[in-house]
């Protein structure tokens, strides 16, 4: 509950939509609009014009001639326009069409026998009661059935075919084709009896079919279409006003022509013009007619456009609004704050406030804030007295007196201070981890600061990303945010039972470097590393005592492990030449932790990485809780980056350089492949190439060439990897999983390999060749986008072109994919958002309709599962007896 008085709540039982009848429109109208003129020479609105003062006052100081209120109190009043001839309402064309087809042209009865009418009415009544969601199906059935009837069961008249020429013209086809005028359509609709109307799924009390043809149109109040004054003093009218003027002008001309008994062709033309204006007034994006345009050529924004789409009334102003107590700015990293914290610029902290109820226990604190005022942090911006009166501290001189006048019951809107709970969000908000609660740290600077480890859940980086912050205003909301939304509560993701928060990039390289066998640390270094953590306690026995005391990195890591933690696991670096199958591992690539001591193996992506289920970090979170997990990220992980900072870590050209003999071997491999490709092409030319099942000879050739070339690239990569020093920094990153992979490295040092567009070798461009540098029909690797050079040696101009072509496809793909998946996401959310899990495990809609009888059929919370499995027996055994069976 907020501190402010709450309005009484009423429960909406149901909502019903209907169509305004001409009588209703006239009844609610205060003035008939008859002239297209808006203002006279003095700039005063003309009586009976679209800016008639009786439509509502919008100028300050004036009083409404209808209700007597000023602009703040006058709700606005409707007017109306009497149309000289009826026109079709564009929104009801479909209904009119169905009604015309389903009823007799002569007697206006529905094209069903009396018996059928009775049966369907009673069925409809029962469906209404029992399965309301099935009613549309019955209505659709009746619609299809009646449209097919040839002869009226009531008067026996032979039925004519009705044709709809979109958007608003109806024709009757008998022998010839005859246009039905809105007059005639309206007459037919008027004669349909109420019961027959019901069978079309229309409630005649709320919407008689003849109301779908307009004879009167309502003129909305001035507040709905305010005119704006430009700096030049020129008045600029709203699009709706422009459109209303068009309608009146067309209407008056039509009326005059009718009164003057003009020839029917003239009248029909004017009638059609009126129809056009009324149609575009309602919806200016109707297919088949040109949109009405402003003088500048911009399409007018009329009624339907105000409601529709992303920026329309519903999605833009009702489902989503701009809110108070929120802030947005660029984000930047800060590895020294907790994952639960967010750095907020002081400037922002002085604008964002938290309501603080004054009590005897916090009155001194509250006085301090008031005394500091709005411009000194930590201060306060407003004071709300118990009677609800607000004092703005910006305009209050004697703050000292005000502070001493504070008594319990006052509310002080104080600045954001360290420890306040806020919600932090990065769009697109694709999963629940996109909005998490953080604790405020007010910091200098102009950016939001966040710990690097929370980048994966937000999918954030620091290339200019901005994020939003919302200050939670009530005690209940704060409690909920703290208990349910705090970052540490989201370390385990429901997306794939595993941690989404975990080490990345330098954290992984750092952990690896710290825990490798070769790392020995002096006392000074140990002290330095531990000083970035909260570790308090004795140093362990040094691993080496003479000539100086030295500790291993594994010993430091062990300081942070729970004393009863056991684990045996493979590491990321456990691959290739350093492969080990069990704990007797001379390469130090098999992780063994017993009784909280890291014995062998290194920490890398497979153990501390983000999004790595069933890993060291996952077991820690599951078995020791999120608080302990946060302790690790805020201490042990900080030690990793402190170590890599001291150690120094960079990548240079030398890291991808290979000796000349290796380059020669690679060239030889590529030459070999080229020769094989030439042979394949030769075989194909002679027609000796055996086609693969389901493929043409050309496809077979392409497949075989691609296969041969990719093998060559792999071989080249292997050669390059052989010559690279395993302890060069680029390779360390690839091996530990910190960044990049072996393929990236081979592309840098050996050869880029085949470039592709649409999964094929590059073959588009000129006739039979991608570029004029080649002969038409040349199928050799070089002419089809194979890049022999490496990034280190550099690409030839032609190679660069091929690489750019492949790269561009990748960019286009990502752009297309994000928009498509975004729309899919929106539709899924709209379909699934109301589903909830009941206390008995059923997944239901709010009205109790069952979606699943048992949530997920096993009632398992995926966030608490092990990569989707409810229990992991092997891990339980390992925990209990210290090793696997």
């Amino acid at each position: 509950m907020s501190f402010l008085p709450q309005p009484t709540l009423k429960v909406l039982e149901r909502i019903k939509f209907g169509v305004l009848s001409p009588d209703e429109i006239r009844k609610m109208s205060r003035v008939q609009i008859i002239t297209a003129e808006t203002y006279d020479e003095d700039g005063m609105p003309i009586q009976g014009g679209v800016m008639d003062p009786r439509l509502g006052v919008i100028e300050p100081g004036r009083r409404c001639p209808v209700c007597g209120n000023t602009m703040h109190g006058c709700p606005g009043h409707f007017g109306h326009i009497e149309l000289a001839k009826p026109v079709i309402h564009i929104g009801y064309v479909k209904q009119i069409y169905d009604l015309l087809r389903g009823t007799c042209w002569k007697c206006s009865r529905i094209l069903l026998s009396e018996d059928q009418i009775r049966d369907y009415l009673s069925l409809m009544e029962r469906l209404d009661r029992l399965f309301p969601n099935l009613k549309p199906r019955l209505i659709e059935h009746i619609r299809q059935k009646t449209a097919k009837v040839q002869e009226c069961p009531h008067c026996g008249a032979k039925q004519k075919k009705i044709k709809l020429d979109k958007p608003t013209n109806f024709y009757e086809k008998d022998k010839g084709v005859r246009k039905l005028s809105p007059d005639e359509i309206r007459a037919r609709l008027t004669h349909i009896p109420d019961d027959d109307v019901r069978l079309f799924g229309i409630d005649p009390k709320e919407a008689r079919p003849e109301w779908f043809v307009l004879t009167v149109i309502p003129v909305p109040p001035a507040q709905v279409r305010p005119s704006i004054m430009l700096e030049t003093g020129v008045r600029s009218e709203d699009d709706l006003t422009h459109k209303l003027v068009d309608i009146i002008r067309a209407n008056n001309r039509l009326k005059e022509s009718m009164d003057a008994a003009a020839p029917p062709i003239v009248i029909d033309d004017l009638w059609e013009l009126l129809q056009y204006h009324v149609t575009t007034y309602i919806n200016n994006e109707v297919p088949g007619i040109p949109p009405a345009r402003h003088r500048t050529g911009r399409a007018l924004k009329t009624l339907a456009q105000r409601l529709k789409g992303k920026e329309g009334r519903f999605r833009g102003n009702l489902s989503g609004k701009r809110v108070d107590f929120s802030a947005r700015t660029v984000i930047s990293p800060d590895p020294n704050i907790s994952i639960n914290e967010v750095g907020v610029p002081e400037e922002m902290a002085k604008l964002l406030t938290v309501p603080m109820r004054v009590t005897p226990w916090n009155i001194e604190e509250a006085r301090k804030y008031v005394m500091n005022g709005p411009y000194k942090w930590p201060g306060a911006n407003y004071i709300i007295r118990p009677d609800g009166r607000r004092t703005d501290l910006r305009f209050f001189k004697d703050r000292k007196a005000l502070a001493s006048s504070l008594t319990p019951g006052y509310i002080v809107e104080r600045h954001l201070i360290d420890g306040d709970i806020v919600l932090f969000n990065r769009q697109p908000s694709l999963h629940r981890m996109s909005i998490m609660a953080h604790k405020v740290r007010v910091l200098p600077g102009k950016t939001f600061r966040l710990n690097l480890l929370v980048c994966p859940p937000y999918n954030a980086d620091f290339d200019g990303d901005e994020m939003n912050l919302h200050v939670v205003q009530t005690e209940e909301a704060r409690a909920e945010a703290l208990e349910l939304m705090l970052v540490q509560e989201h370390i385990l993701s429901p997306r794939y039972g595993g941690p989404i928060i975990g080490g990345l990039q330098d954290y992984i390289s750092g952990a690896y470097l710290l825990t490798t066998k070769s790392t020995l640390l002096t006392e000074e270094e140990v002290m330095d590393l531990l000083s970035v953590t909260d570790y308090k306690g004795e140093l362990p026995e040094p691993a080496i005592t003479k000539p100086v005391k030295m500790w291993t990195g594994k010993q430091l890591v062990s300081l942070f492990l729970p004393p009863n933690f056991n684990l045996r696991a493979k590491t990321s670096v456990n691959a290739g030449r350093l492969k080990c199958e069990d704990e007797d591992c001379f390469n130090d690539t098999y992780l063994v932790i017993k009784k909280g001591k890291l014995l062998t193996g290194v920490l890398d992506k497979k153990s501390i990485g983000a999004q790595q289920p069933e890993s060291f970090y996952h077991w820690i979170v599951k078995e020791y809780g999120v608080d302990y997990a946060r302790f690790l990220t805020d201490n042990m992980f900080r030690m990793f980056i402190r170590y890599i900072e001291k150690h120094g870590f960079t990548m240079s050209l030398d890291d991808v350089e290979i000796p000349p003999e290796a380059e020669e071997r690679i060239r030889e491999i590529l030459r070999e492949a080229e020769k094989d490709v030439a042979q394949l092409i030769e075989a194909y030319r002679k027609g000796e190439l055996e086609p693969l099942p389901g493929m043409t000879p050309e496809e077979t050739l392409e497949t075989k060439i691609m296969e041969r070339l990719s093998r060559a690239r792999d071989q080249a990569g292997e050669v390059a990897a052989e010559y690279l020093d395993i302890f060069n920094n680029a390779l360390i990153m690839a091996r530990t999983g910190a960044r990049g992979n072996i393929l990236n490295l081979t592309q840098m040092s050996a050869a880029l390999g085949q470039q592709s567009v649409r999964g094929e070798r590059i073959n588009r461009g000129y006739r039979g060749r991608p570029l004029p540098h080649f002969k038409p029909g040349d199928l050799m690797p070089a002419a089809r986008g194979f890049v022999y050079s490496s990034f280190r040696t550099g690409l030839s101009p032609v190679e660069l072109f091929f690489h750019a072509a492949g790269g561009r496809e990748g960019l286009v793909d990502t752009a297309v994919r994000t928009s498509q998946s975004g729309y899919m996401q929106r539709r899924l959310i709209n379909a699934l958002m109301d589903i909830r899990v009941e206390y008995d495990g059923k997944a239901t809609l709010p009205d109790g309709t069952v979606v699943q009888f048992s949530y997920g059929e096993d009632q398992v919370d995926p966030a608490r599962s092990d990569h989707g499995k409810p229990v992991n027996v092997d891990r339980i055994i390992e925990r209990v007896i210290g090793h696997e069976l």
């Binding site: 199906r137 009205d847 069952v850 009888f853 997920g856």
Partner: protein, 81 residues
């Protein structure tokens, strides 16, 4: 098509469907705390429903293999259509 009449129930992708007799159906609904309108629906024109001969208003039990829970039992109410 084979000369033999095809029975959907024999298809390997079609789980077991069975009609639930009325007394048992009321029992089940009571246990689930549901009224018939809250149940998921299956059309009378559904091939399996036709095959087992269930009529609108009847309860159908579906027993199927579940990826997460091994075997699972769900219910549908037959509706006109």
């Amino acid at each position: 098509m084979s000369p033999k009449k095809f029975d959907v129930r024999e298809h390997k992708l079609v789980p077991k469907h069975e009609r639930v007799p009325l007394p048992e159906a009321t029992e089940i609904l009571k246990e689930l705390g549901l009224d018939p309108t809250q149940l998921p629906q299956i059309r009378a024109s559904d091939p399996v429903v036709k095959a087992i001969g269930a009529k609108p208003g009847e309860l159908v039990r579906i027993i199927r293999e579940s990826e997460t829970a091994g075997k699972t039992v769900v219910y549908r109410i037959v509706v006109v259509g």
